[in-house]
Symmetry: C2
Subunit: 136 residues, 2 copies
């Protein structure tokens, strides 16, 4: 499938309010957007560093995916998102190679991206997202 | 400090031999280097995707940092490395902001980089590396 770059890193944090100052005041990155993704039960904050966005994820519901992740593992990298051309084609390719998929078809994520997740059991323990900007 | 990009992602894996085929045959990235870093007790495999390298880390000693990480957490993202201009200057800046440092001065990492780690207690649970190519 040959991703072009890492589109974003998703980092689960306890609180956007407590985490944003580290990224702004220490790393010197600017938070350019805060967005709630209701169906994922998260509030997100975005920063750009080179080609890659950092997406901080604060849970809005302990039963949501980030709420459960934080309860099990604490704060840390939640997923790595690769930019691909054609998410469906990439999913089909991965499935053909025996990779377990979380999403068999793309769905809509933060920033209007078309996204789908591969299962970490098939991807060296790292939850991986494939994504594409919708205008492509 | 304003990093220019994510230089690499370090991913702890049980076995390079078992993990490299996923990155090569599914993601379509090429493993361009395998290197042992004796003082870190790891064997590393590198891939490039856009501006960012993926560094797979296999432990060569259960008492080393990756051996302990794998025993505690299993496979997954171990650290995020930001490219900065001037690692020592960036460390001093972070320390001034109250960030806990693992390395007070830079040391030599894989690929000859000058590297230093910030403590995850200060960086939202994510082990963060600052690094710079030595020719700079």
């Amino acid at each position: 499938m040959k991703p072009t770059h890492i589109e974003h890193l998703g980092i689960a944090v306890n609180s956007l309010e407590e985490s944003i100052p580290f990224f702004e005041n220490v790393l010197g990155l600017k938070c350019y957007s805060i967005e709630e993704v209701a169906d994922q039960k998260v509030k997100t904050a975005f920063f750009l560093v080179g080609q890659t966005k950092i997406e901080l994820l604060e849970s809005t519901d302990p039963e949501g995916p980030i709420g459960k992740f934080l309860a099990n593992k604490g704060q840390g990298v939640h997923h790595v998102a690769f930019a691909v051309e054609g998410v469906q084609k990439a999913l089909d390719f991965a499935a053909d190679k025996g990779i377990r998929l979380i999403d068999k078809t793309p769905r809509k994520g933060a920033e209007g991206l078309s996204i789908a997740f591969l299962h970490p059991k098939s991807t060296c323990g790292v939850l991986m997202e494939l994504c594409e900007h919708p205008q492509k």
